[in-house]
C-alpha cells in the first residue's frame, strides 16, 4: 500500500487533472448541495431578525433570541418535544427492525417471480401520498361506525373509539409508518446483503451451518454497518416531526394532540394566523442544530463500538 499520509494538495489536483471525467461527475451533485443546501444557510439570519420582506434579509432589524421565545416558553413545550422524540424513536426502531426482517426473508426466497412480485407489493405504500394514507386511515378508524370496530366486535372484542384515545395513537402511527416505509428500507438492506461474499455462505454450508445459523452469524453481522448508517441518517431528523404524515392523518383533531402534536404541527398552528418568518425560522434552526448534535453524539457512540459502522 502506498504511503497515504504524505499526499498533499498537489497530489489531489494532479489526480483531478488525470481523471477529469471521473471528478466531473461529482460537479452536478456538488452544485446541487452548494445552491440548495449551503447557499441558503445565509437565510439562518432570519431566525434572529424581525423579518420584513420589503427591507430584505440584510435590511431587517436584529432582535437577538426574541424569535425563539414563544416556542421555548409555551406551556406545551415539553409535551411537544416528548411527542416529537418519542414518535421518531418508535418510527426508527420499528421501521428498521421490520425492514431487516423483510430483507432477511427475501434473501431466503428462491422463487424469482414470487420474490419480484412480493418485493414490488411491499414497496408500493412508499409511493402513496400521505393525504391518501390519511384518507385510508380515516375510512378504517373514523366515522360513526369504523369498519375496524365491526371486525373487533365480530371477533368478540369491545369496540374502540379510535378518534378519542390519544394513548393508542403513537402505536397506530408507528404501524402506519412501518407499513409505509419498511418496504423501501428493506430494499437498501437487501442490496447490502447481495454484496456479501458468496464464499462465506459456501464455507458455512460446508461446515454444516443451518439456515438460521447462517442468517444470524453471517448475514446479520455483515448488515450492521448499513443498519447503523441508515439509523444515523434518521437520527439527524429526530427533531423534525413528519408534518405531512401527522397533519394528513391527525388533522385538526385536538383530542389526539396530547400524544401526536409534534414541533412542526405546533408551529404550523401558531403561525397560521401570524405568518411570521422569523419565528418559524427560529424553530427550524433549533431542529437542525439539535439534529446535528444528535448525529454527532450517535456517531461517536457508534464509533466507540464499531469503527466501520460509523458515518464519519
Amino acid at each position: 500500500m502506498p504511503n497515504v499520509r504524505k499526499r498533499g494538495a498537489g497530489y489531489k489536483l494532479q489526480q483531478i487533472a488525470r481523471n477529469p471525467f471521473l471528478y466531473g461527475m461529482a460537479v452536478p451533485g456538488l452544485l446541487f448541495f452548494l445552491i440548495f443546501s449551503y447557499f441558503p444557510i445565509y437565510g439562518i439570519m432570519i431566525a434572529f431578525k424581525d423579518y420584513d420582506f420589503s427591507k430584505g434579509i440584510t435590511g431587517s432589524e436584529w432582535v437577538g433570541f426574541r424569535n425563539f421565545n414563544y416556542f421555548f416558553t409555551s406551556d406545551d413545550f415539553w409535551i411537544i418535544l416528548r411527542n416529537t422524540l418519542l414518535l421518531n424513536v418508535l418510527f426508527i426502531i420499528f421501521t428498521t427492525v421490520a425492514a431487516v426482517l423483510i430483507a432477511l426473508m427475501f434473501n431466503e426466497i428462491r422463487s424469482k417471480y414470487f420474490k419480484r412480485i412480493s418485493q414490488s407489493l411491499i414497496f408500493l405504500p412508499y409511493f402513496m401520498s400521505w393525504i391518501v394514507i390519511g384518507m385510508l386511515v380515516q375510512s378504517f378508524l373514523g366515522g360513526e361506525a369504523p369498519p375496524v370496530n365491526t371486525l373487533l366486535q365480530n371477533l368478540g372484542f369491545e369496540p374502540v373509539n379510535w378518534m378519542f384515545e390519544s394513548s393508542l395513537w403513537p402505536w397506530i402511527l408507528t404501524v402506519i409508518r412501518v407499513w409505509q416505509g419498511a418496504g423501501y428500507l428493506s430494499i437498501i438492506f437487501l442490496a447490502a446483503i447481495t454484496g456479501i461474499s458468496e464464499d462465506l455462505y459456501e464455507a458455512a454450508r460446508i461446515d454444516g451451518a443451518s439456515k438460521l445459523q447462517i442468517m444470524l452469524r453471517i448475514t446479520l453481522p455483515l448488515l450492521v454497518p448499513t443498519i447503523s448508517i441508515m439509523t444515523l441518517l434518521s437520527v439527524g431528523k429526530i427533531f423534525n416531526g413528519d408534518f405531512a404524515m401527522i397533519y394528513a392523518i391527525i388533522g385538526d383533531n385536538s383530542l389526539l394532540y396530547p400524544t401526536t402534536d409534534v414541533i412542526d404541527t405546533f408551529v404550523f398552528r401558531s403561525m397560521r394566523q401570524l405568518h411570521d418568518f422569523g419565528m418559524s425560522s427560529a424553530v427550524g434552526l433549533f431542529q437542525s442544530v439539535m439534529g446535528l448534535i444528535f448525529v454527532i453524539i450517535a456517531n461517536a457512540v457508534t464509533r466507540k463500538m464499531s469503527k466501520e459502522s460509523a458515518l464519519f
Binding site: G24, L31, G56, Y70, G251, D252, R269, S270, L274
Partner: protein, 514 residues
C-alpha cells in the same frame, strides 16, 4: 482546461443566482412615479379627445389560481371589445399557482418587474405592500370613474380603506355574514313540521330526525368549520341583539355595552350555543366524529344527513345541489332572522385589485376597471361569451353553457352586477341577494379595525394554538361548556393572553375614536 471551464460555469451560476436574490434588496420607485404621473396626464388628455382611435397599451396582470377552461377565447373577446370601445388597453392576464402566488408576486415586485395590476389581500401581503409603499392609493382615480364607483356600495368603499385611503378596489359580493342551515325539506314535510323560522325550530327538526329516522342522521359539519357553530346555534342568530360582536381576531370579541374586548369565555351571547353544542354532542345530534370530519359536503349530498351548515355567500348553498339527485329529496335554506333587526357588519372584503407603484398605466388600469363595471362588459369577462358560455335568465341569473368559470374575486366582482346561477336554490338566491345589499346590515362600531399583532407577536403566537386545541372542541360540544370555557380562559391568560386583549383593545379604541 476542463476544470477551469467547470469553475467558470459554477461562478456564472452563482453570480446569476446572487444577482437574482439581491434584486430583492430594494426597488427604486421614485423615477417610476414620475413616469407614471406623466403617463397619467397623457391618459387623461387622451380620454378627453374621444373619437380618435387610441393606441392600445397591453396591461399585465397577475392573479392566483388555474387558468379557467376556455379562457383564451374569452380574453380575446374581451380585448376585441376593449378595442371597439376605444379604451386604449388590452389585457394580458397571467394566472399563477395558488401555492406560491404570494411569494412570486412579492419577489416580482421587489425585483422591479413592471406589471399593472394584481390581487392582494389582508391575508396575503397587503399590509406589507402598503407599509413599503409598493402599491398606490386609488382615491382620486376612483372618484372620477362613475360606473366603478356606483357598482360598489358606498359602505363597502368606506369600510375597506387602509389608513383612510383606498389602496385597492374591494372585490366582494356580500356585505355581511348570514349563517343558516340547508335542510331536507322532504323530511320536514314527512313529519308534518311547518316551515322552520328560528334556531329552536331547527333544533326541533334535528331531534325529530334523530328520533324517527334510522338511516339518516341529524346534522353534519366539517370539523374545522365547527368554529361557526357558536355563532349559529343561538336564538339571536343574524340579528343585532347580541351584546358582543366579532373582532375577527379568533376567540376575541367586543362588548357593545362597556366597549371592552373580551375572550370567548366571557362572551355571554355564546353561553346558549356552547350549552346547546354540549347537549347536541351528547345526544348524538352532532356526529361523534365531528373533530375528524372532513367530508360533510359529500355525506350530506349522499343523503346521510338531514341538515348542514349554510352561509349566504353565493358559494356554500351551491355545494349541496347534488343532494337533489337522491330520489324524493328536496332542499330548503333556513336562515333564522328577525325582520326588526339588522345584523352588524363591518362590510369588510377579503380581496382587492391593487396597482403596483411600478406600473406606468394606473389611469388605464382604472379605465379598464371602470369598463368592467358596465354590466355588459362585466358579464363578458365573468361569465364568458353570451350564447356560447352562458345565457341570461332574467336580469340577475344566468345559465351556464360551457366549462368557463372565471374567478370573479380577482377582478370582476361588483355587488350590483352579479348574477346568480339559475340552478341556485330559491332560498339561497334570496339570502345571497339580501347579503349583497348594504342596507340590510348595521354598520359595526369597530369598522376599520384589523388586528396588527406586531407588538404582541410572542403572546399572540402562543395563544393561537388554543383555537384548535380548546376553542374548536368547545364549539363542537366535545368539551362540555363549563369545563371548556374555564380551560380556554386558563390557557389563554396563562400564556400572556391579557397582553393580546389589551393590544386589541388599544387598536379598537383608536379606530373608534376616529
Amino acid at each position: 482546461m476542463k476544470s477551469k471551464k467547470i469553475f467558470s460555469f459554477t461562478l456564472t451560476a452563482l453570480l446569476s443566482l446572487s444577482m437574482l436574490l439581491s434584486g430583492c434588496g430594494g426597488n427604486n420607485g421614485s423615477n417610476n412615479t414620475e413616469a407614471g404621473a406623466a403617463d397619467n396626464a397623457k391618459g387623461t388628455e387622451q380620454s378627453n379627445s374621444a373619437g380618435s382611435p387610441k393606441e392600445t397599451v397591453e396591461l399585465k396582470a397577475y392573479f392566483p389560481g388555474d387558468k379557467p377552461a376556455g379562457f383564451e377565447d374569452v380574453l380575446k373577446a374581451v380585448n376585441d371589445k376593449l378595442k371597439a370601445d376605444n379604451i386604449g388597453a388590452s389585457l394580458n392576464i397571467n394566472f399563477l399557482p395558488w401555492s406560491d402566488y404570494g411569494n412570486s408576486v412579492s419577489v416580482k415586485m421587489s425585483a422591479g418587474e413592471e406589471f399593472d395590476m394584481y390581487l392582494d389581500a389582508p391575508w396575503l401581503s397587503m399590509s406589507q405592500m402598503i407599509a413599503s409603499g409598493s402599491i398606490i392609493a386609488l382615491d382620486d382615480l376612483v372618484a372620477s370613474r362613475k360606473e366603478l364607483k356606483e357598482s360598489i356600495p358606498d359602505q363597502m368603499w368606506e369600510a375597506n380603506k387602509f389608513g383612510g385611503k383606498i389602496m385597492g378596489i374591494p372585490l366582494g359580493t356580500v356585505q355581511g355574514t348570514l349563517y343558516g342551515f340547508v335542510i331536507r325539506k322532504d323530511l320536514r314535510e314527512k313529519y308534518g313540521m311547518p316551515e322552520l323560522k328560528t334556531v329552536a325550530d331547527v333544533e326541533k327538526f334535528l331531534y325529530t330526525v334523530k328520533e324517527k329516522e334510522t338511516a339518516i342522521k341529524p346534522f353534519v359539519i366539517d370539523g374545522r368549520k365547527a368554529d361557526k357553530l357558536p355563532a349559529m346555534f343561538k336564538d339571536t342568530l343574524n340579528t343585532s341583539k347580541d351584546s358582543y360582536i366579532e373582532t375577527l381576531v379568533p376567540m376575541f370579541y367586543y362588548s357593545l355595552a362597556d366597549k371592552k374586548v373580551v375572550g370567548a369565555w366571557e362572551d355571554t351571547s355564546f353561553d346558549q350555543s356552547f350549552e346547546r353544542a354540549t347537549k347536541y354532542y351528547q345526544d348524538g345530534i352532532l356526529s361523534k366524529n365531528i373533530a375528524q370530519e372532513q367530508n360533510a359536503q359529500t355525506l350530506f349530498n349522499q343523503g346521510k344527513y338531514a341538515a348542514t351548515y349554510y352561509a349566504a355567500d353565493g358559494v356554500e348553498g351551491l355545494k349541496y345541489l347534488d343532494a337533489l339527485k337522491i330520489e324524493g329529496a328536496e332542499l330548503e335554506v333556513v336562515v333564522p332572522h328577525d325582520d326588526n333587526s339588522k345584523p352588524y357588519s363591518n362590510y369588510q372584503q377579503w380581496n382587492f385589485l391593487t396597482i403596483p407603484k411600478a406600473s406606468k398605466h394606473a389611469e388605464l388600469v382604472m379605465d379598464v376597471a371602470n369598463w368592467l363595471s358596465v354590466k355588459e362588459n362585466h358579464d363578458l369577462m365573468q361569465y364568458g361569451v353570451e350564447g356560447k358560455d352562458w345565457e341570461p335568465v332574467g336580469d340577475s341569473s344566468y345559465k351556464q353553457l360551457s366549462g368557463y368559470v372565471f374567478p370573479g374575486f380577482v377582478l370582476t366582482w361588483r355587488p350590483q352586477l352579479e348574477r346568480t346561477p339559475d340552478n341556485m336554490l330559491a332560498g339561497d338566491k334570496e339570502w345571497v341577494e339580501k347579503a349583497g345589499a348594504a342596507e340590510f346590515f348595521t354598520l359595526s362600531p369597530i369598522t376599520g379595525f384589523s388586528f396588527d399583532a406586531e407588538q404582541v407577536k410572542t403572546e399572540y403566537a402562543k395563544t393561537t394554538p388554543f383555537f384548535d386545541s380548546v376553542f374548536l372542541p368547545l364549539s363542537q360540544g366535545v368539551l362540555p361548556a363549563d369545563k371548556g370555557k374555564a380551560m380556554l380562559k386558563d390557557k389563554i391568560l396563562g400564556v400572556g393572553g391579557q397582553k393580546v386583549i389589551d393590544e386589541i383593545q388599544k387598536q379598537i379604541d383608536a379606530v373608534v375614536a376616529e
